[in-house]
């Protein structure tokens, strides 16, 4: 459901930003900014650095504890990986957890992106009394350490009797100052005042400006924010663990917390579970990564 917002409507062809995007894409494609060999070398090093710990998680999951205790450490997969993955999948009942987490993370990410974009736009480009003070409050809320707030928050949720219900995880996560601040800073840079003024001159209401100017201009940032929020929600542990149980409607991290039970937790099983929890996210990135297409605005500025 998170992709819906990025699909342009079929009949919106005459809108200036869209026309602009098409042209600018062509311009970029014909641009001179090709990466040189050094860039590829740096990227290769970076790829190794980023992926190595993950790949090694898979290697560790495919080995037994005894092999991990030897030097040199194992560098390649053993034979157990798929067995362990299967056990972890069944033990933690991950199928249901994936569904729940997708609902939670999807709704959170989508709502945060939408609310942050309109609020960020207002803070970046509209004039109103109290704007700076309100923005300071937004930034101030980011400074509250989350580890502590969840205790009083839980007292609230208990009063509301929301135990084991997904809205107890979703709703508090929507208070997201990061998103508002992120969108404000992005739009300050990416959305030239001239375009808004042009739309105003055409008689567009603020809502129409949001739909036709702000959203198209904010698309890359929205995709990025959506990805970041989806991941954050997906990996959140402390709060969902407090609110949800494994038998009710667990998220992935809550379900994984029960893996490897016993005085002797099976290290490789826990790693297999961790791997299963991460893989779907990489898939989501692959889909969203494409959405971060460049150069939406320049065509619009030109005309």
């Amino acid at each position: 459901m998170t992709t819906t917002m990025t699909k342009p409507p079929a009949d919106a062809a005459p809108e200036p930003p869209r026309r602009g995007r098409r042209r600018s894409k062509a311009a970029r494609a014909g641009g001179t900014l090709h990466a040189g060999p050094i860039a590829y070398i740096i990227l290769a090093l970076f790829t190794i650095g980023s992926l190595f710990p993950l790949v090694w998680t898979a290697i560790a999951a495919s080995r037994d504890n005894q092999r991990l205790a030897q030097t040199p450490p194992p560098f390649w997969f053993g034979g157990n990986l798929f067995d362990k993955l299967e056990i972890a999948w069944n033990d933690a009942n991950l199928g249901e957890a994936f569904l729940n987490t997708t609902i939670v993370a999807g709704i959170s990410a989508f709502t945060i992106v939408f609310l942050s974009t309109i609020a960020g736009f207002a803070f970046a480009k509209l004039r109103f009394r109290g704007r700076n003070a309100l923005m300071l409050i937004v930034i101030g809320t980011m400074m509250v350490p989350p580890q502590l707030s969840i205790i009083p928050l839980y007292m609230m949720v208990a009063k509301l009797d929301w135990s084991d219900q997904l809205q107890a995880v979703i709703l508090p996560s929507l208070v997201n100052a990061f998103g508002v601040f992120f969108m404000r800073q992005y739009l300050l840079q990416a959305l030239p005042d001239e375009i808004i003024e042009a739309a105003r001159v055409d008689g567009a209401s603020s809502w129409r400006v949001v739909w036709h100017v702000v959203f198209p201009a904010a698309r890359p940032a929205m995709a990025v924010l959506g990805m970041l929020m989806f991941v954050q929600s997906w990996n959140d542990f402390l709060w969902p663990f407090l609110v949800l149980t494994q038998n009710g409607s667990p998220t992935v991290q809550v379900a994984l917390a029960g893996l490897g039970r016993g005085y002797t937790p099976d290290q490789s099983l826990i790693m297999a579970g961790a791997l299963l929890g991460t893989l779907p996210l990489l898939l989501v990135f692959a889909i969203f990564g494409k959405q971060i297409v460049g150069g939406i605005m320049q065509g619009a500025v030109k005309g």
């Binding site: 409607s249 917390a257 016993g262 290290q267």
Partner: protein, 441 residues
């Protein structure tokens, strides 16, 4: 412009659709939650679902006890909700208890937390001593007392205990010129932890530098402290760890062992410590029955049968759990019945034979599942009998609500530093500073 307006109207419709979809999903989930609520109070087949909130160590399901109970009580369905780490489980449990929300029908409580739960949350639990079929005499007296308030309410029934012995490597002892027979080994240090250290020195002389006598300073200080009547609190509930000579003696003895290089510079249960089991780098470890499970899981296959179990210089207890029934649960009566059954001697004995959790009910010690107990790592050693002997000598120890914090300070902010080259005095000061700061409200 008109086209654009239509576009925007369409977008609003799309938005509304998305929003309602979101709301629908939300409502759907909420409904799901309610459905499950109602199913747990009796679904179409009229079954009652009892939920258990457990942490890592239990194993009722794995031992087949739920299946057995469900067969005996066809109208009952049992679900468990297990958290691997008590560090995650316990703060959540406290939160749930104080808000009376999100509680399972049965909640497990670790021995390290039981004093705190008794002191602060007793009114949230049913008094199990009044439950039908519960006989106080079934349990070791100290186990029963640990979960009982001053007013005599018992908030949880004991499942397992951890009678501590010393597990040792026969092959390494032999190489070091020490006896390998468990009776003789027990005699080397019977009644005195100092003799245990002396044995360690002999071991070091004989075995050389490749292996250590004991696994970790934390294991040693914990073992010594477990065998004392009083450690961190006195019977009036006052914190006395700083002035109790038994604690300082335990600390100094462990520091001495560390200075002499008898213990590894490791913290128990960290991956690096696991690896020293795998590589057979130490000869002894303080060892409740469940530790054999740890050793088995971390060892190379060729270590099987090389371990044996000797009595500790003084017997003590390490680990164990209670099952309580919160008043805020949905099926209090049924839960009490289940807990009573799960903690009965017969079931405790079954749990030992399958999972290695040692019974807290002495009646179970005569049952064949215990007397015939064996473990791969210790070959033919009759571990059931050996641990039962230790269990009967466990002192009634005064426990306090913050025992874990004190113990953690003495271990991880204390004796471990000696293995890294600090003096015993500096290590003690570092530990005391940390503990006092952590205890201060």
């Amino acid at each position: 412009m008109r086209a654009a307006r239509r576009g925007s109207a369409r977008k609003v419709v799309v938005m509304a659709a998305i929003a309602s979809l979101g709301a629908g999903l939300l409502a759907g989930c909420a409904d799901d939650g309610n459905d499950e609520d109602s199913s747990s109070s009796g679904d179409s087949s009229g079954k009652t679902t009892i939920t258990l909130g457990l942490f890592g160590t239990m194993g009722f399901k794995e031992a087949g006890l739920y299946d057995e109970y469900e067969k005996l009580n066809p109208d009952i369905n049992i679900e468990e909700n297990v958290t691997e780490r008590n560090e995650n489980y316990y703060p959540a449990l406290v939160n749930h208890l104080t808000t009376n929300s999100g509680l399972q029908d049965v909640q497990a409580i670790e021995v390290g937390n039981i004093a705190e739960v008794v002191a602060t949350q007793a009114d949230k639990f049913e008094d199990m001593s009044k439950a039908e079929g519960v006989k106080k005499d079934n349990w070791l007296d100290w186990k029963w007392q640990q979960a009982t308030t001053k007013d005599g309410a018992t908030i949880g029934l004991g499942t397992d205990i951890g009678p501590m012995a010393i597990c040792y490597r026969k092959d390494l002892f032999e190489k070091a010129g020490l006896p390998t027979d468990r009776e003789e080994v027990s005699k080397l240090w019977a009644g005195d932890w100092n003799k245990f250290i002396e044995t360690g020195e002999k071991y070091k002389k004989g075995a050389g530098k490749d292996t250590y006598f004991m696994d970790s300073p934390g294991g040693l200080i914990n073992a010594i402290l477990s065998s004392e009547d009083e450690k961190f609190y006195d019977s009036s509930g006052k914190v006395i760890y700083k002035t109790n000579p038994a604690v300082k003696d335990a600390f100094d003895l462990t520091a001495e062992a560390a200075e002499k290089g008898l213990v590894q510079s490791q913290t128990q249960f960290q991956p690096a410590w696991d690896q020293t089991i795998s590589n057979s780098l130490f000869a002894t470890v303080a060892c409740p029955p469940w530790m054999l499970g740890t050793i088995k899981a971390k060892s190379q296959p060729d270590s099987a049968g090389k371990w044996d179990v000797a009595q500790a210089p003084k017997a003590g207890n390490w680990g164990g759990t209670f099952l309580g029934v919160p008043k805020g649960g949905k099926h209090v009566k049924e839960a009490q019945k289940l807990v009573t059954w799960l903690t009965a001697p017969e079931q405790q004995a079954k749990l030992f034979s399958k999972m290695g959790s040692f019974p807290s009910a002495p009646a179970a010690y005569k049952l064949p599942q215990v007397t015939g107990g064996k473990n791969d790592m210790t070959g033919d050693a009759p571990i059931g009998e050996l641990f039962a002997k230790a269990a009967e000598q466990i002192p009634t120890q005064v426990i306090g609500p913050k025992d874990q914090i004190v113990q953690q300070g003495l271990t991880d902010n204390g004796v471990i530093l000696v293995t890294q080259g600090k003096s015993a005095k500096d290590a003690w000061e570092n530990a005391v500073k940390t503990i006092d700061n952590n205890l201060e409200k």
